[in-house]
């Protein structure tokens, strides 16, 4: 699914989080929103997922206006910064949550849910943790469970908010490859937010550099490195 962001702006009370920004995300791309904190990248991600609504502008999914769609109607697989796993549910129940929340007519039966959850656990290479609780998992495992939970709803796109933020350096490297593999396998249009330029440059097909609520540059990692468009981008990627 390709996503078009058309002059999206967002203000909270009196403060401006996003100036009008526009961005076209081709179908199947892996896109990084890169910028320091307060640059508006998370706000933009949450607007895509339907967790915030823009003050003005439009979002289009496959050319169709999706601005008014509710968070449930968006069907965006969302991975939260600290994963937001349901702490009172097992890993199995966490992953099955989205399937069980479907309206009765579209809800898979028990056997089908078990089959799908098992398949997702295999995909994230943690086949044996179905019965555990989130508190019994390591940070890396939690992140992968959150990813599996987001994938379970057969999302139209994958949105990740600082997916590697809470992990140590070694696990971070491993999981980067994991995300790349999952992206390539599912072919989902994927947008992730990061403040780590290495992460963005290494992982993404397209990097969107943001600062102070505006987009500074959009480009392939190589192009951004070779030709930074503004002083800010030059500073940020050399840091």
């Amino acid at each position: 699914m390709h996503i078009d962001i058309d002059e999206i702006a967002k203000t909270f009370g009196g403060t401006t989080a996003l100036l009008p920004v526009s961005l076209n995300i081709p179908s199947g791309a892996l896109v990084a929103l890169l910028g320091p904190s307060g640059s508006g990248k998370t706000t933009l991600l949450r607007i895509l997922g339907g967790l915030e609504f823009p003050t003005s502008g439009r979002v289009l999914f496959n050319g169709q206006d999706a601005t008014g769609l509710t968070v449930q109607e968006r069907r965006a697989g969302f991975v939260f910064q600290s994963y937001a796993l349901f702490r009172h549910m097992t890993v199995f129940d966490n992953i099955a949550y989205g399937l069980r929340a479907r309206p009765r007519g579209q809800r898979p039966n028990k056997a089908e849910i078990t089959r799908r959850v098992t398949k997702l656990l295999d995909l994230i290479q943690l086949p044996d943790i179905a019965g555990r609780y989130p508190t019994q998992l390591s940070g890396g495992q939690r992140q992968r469970v959150a990813l599996a939970r987001a994938l379970a709803i057969e999302p139209r796109m994958l949105l990740l908010d600082e997916p590697f933020g809470a992990l140590d350096a070694k696990v971070r490297k491993e999981l980067r490859q994991g995300l790349r593999d999952i992206h390539d396998e599912t072919g989902l249009t994927t947008v992730f937010v990061t403040h780590d330029q290495d992460e963005a440059m290494e992982l993404a097909d397209l990097v969107v550099v943001m600062s102070m609520g505006r987009i500074e540059q959009i480009g392939k990692p190589g192009d951004i490195r070779a030709k930074p468009a503004t002083e800010f981008v030059r500073d940020f990627i050399s840091a």
Binding site: Q81, T135, Q136, R149, I153
Partner: protein
């Protein structure tokens, strides 16, 4: 600790033995004087003339009516306040709006206002001489000196318990899990039922139990609005006071013992639930 050849070092948070003994002693003495002694006196006085006299006094028509009234009021007031408390806590923790701090202060108001004053306010607002009260009396539904007034007074006095327990828990948990449920396609109600409620259930239980204990024991506000009509609007605490003033000591203390026992049962219930779900509690708190 077992190695005696080394000089004895104390952990930084550990105190000298004499200080420890002194502190424990003060705590035990305080508990004995303030908690155990009154409890013992209440039950002792009730049973002074034997079990039979105590039970007989509780079987009296007015006593039965008081017990029934108190249980009814509690059964109405506690669910109301649980619902109000959840709604208030939800509103305060999940949304940002102006005047939030003011609203939190307002929720605490019943703690700071004297129950007698609260009772007087209800009489002024809903008494037979007020517009609303007069109309209600004309319809045959008096509020003051009747059960609705007692419910109102009890709800007011016990209002903060549930909300106060829930607000810190819900603030600490944030909104992320609920947002996650929404992105996974759950409706607002389903999110509340399957994510919010399970996460707050222990706080909700504590709040409800405290609220129950307080609702059964409320005296001041109820004394003003009930009119203390024997057999009709006299709750257990009111009846205890009336019996005591009439020098019916065994009857007064039997009723008091029963009220205390009801409170103790709620505490016992809480402890049992905690024991039964100890592993679950630990899993939530380790987070």
């Amino acid at each position: 600790m077992s190695d005696t050849t080394l000089p004895t070092f104390r952990a930084a948070t550990e105190e000298a033995p004499f200080l420890r003994i002194a502190l424990i002693g003060i705590a035990v003495a305080g508990l004995a004087v303030l908690v155990f002694a009154p409890l013992a006196v209440v039950f002792g006085e009730a049973l002074r003339e034997g079990w039979l006299a105590a039970v007989e006094s509780l079987g009296h028509r007015d006593a039965r009516s008081a017990i029934w009234l108190t249980l009814t009021i509690t059964a109405i007031a506690v669910p109301l306040n649980a619902a109000f408390g959840i709604a208030a806590a939800w509103f305060i923790t999940k949304f940002d709006f102006r005047g939030k701090a003011f609203l939190i202060t307002l929720i605490d108001l019943p703690f700071s206002v004297s129950p007698v004053v609260a009772g007087l306010c209800i009489v002024l607002l809903f008494g037979a001489n007020s517009a609303i009260g007069g109309w209600m009396v004309a319809q045959g539904w008096p509020i003051v000196f009747a059960i609705p007034g007692i419910v109102l007074a009890t709800v007011f006095v016990t209002f903060p318990f549930v909300a106060r327990e829930l607000i810190p828990v819900m603030i600490e948990q944030g909104r992320a899990e609920e947002e996650a449920a929404l992105t996974l396609g759950a409706s607002g109600w389903r999110t509340f039922r399957t994510v919010t409620l399970p996460n707050i259930r222990w706080a909700l239980l504590y709040g409800t139990l405290l609220c129950t204990a307080r609702a059964m024991g409320e005296f001041g506000a109820v004394a003003v609005v009930s009119g203390k009509i024997r057999g009709q609007t006299a709750t257990m605490p009111i009846t205890i006071e009336m019996l005591y003033n009439e020098y019916l000591s065994v009857a007064a203390f039997s009723m008091a013992a029963l009220l205390t026992a009801l409170a103790l049962v709620t505490l016992l219930l809480k402890t049992l639930l905690e024991l039964r779900h100890a592993d679950q509690l630990a899993a939530i708190r380790r987070h």
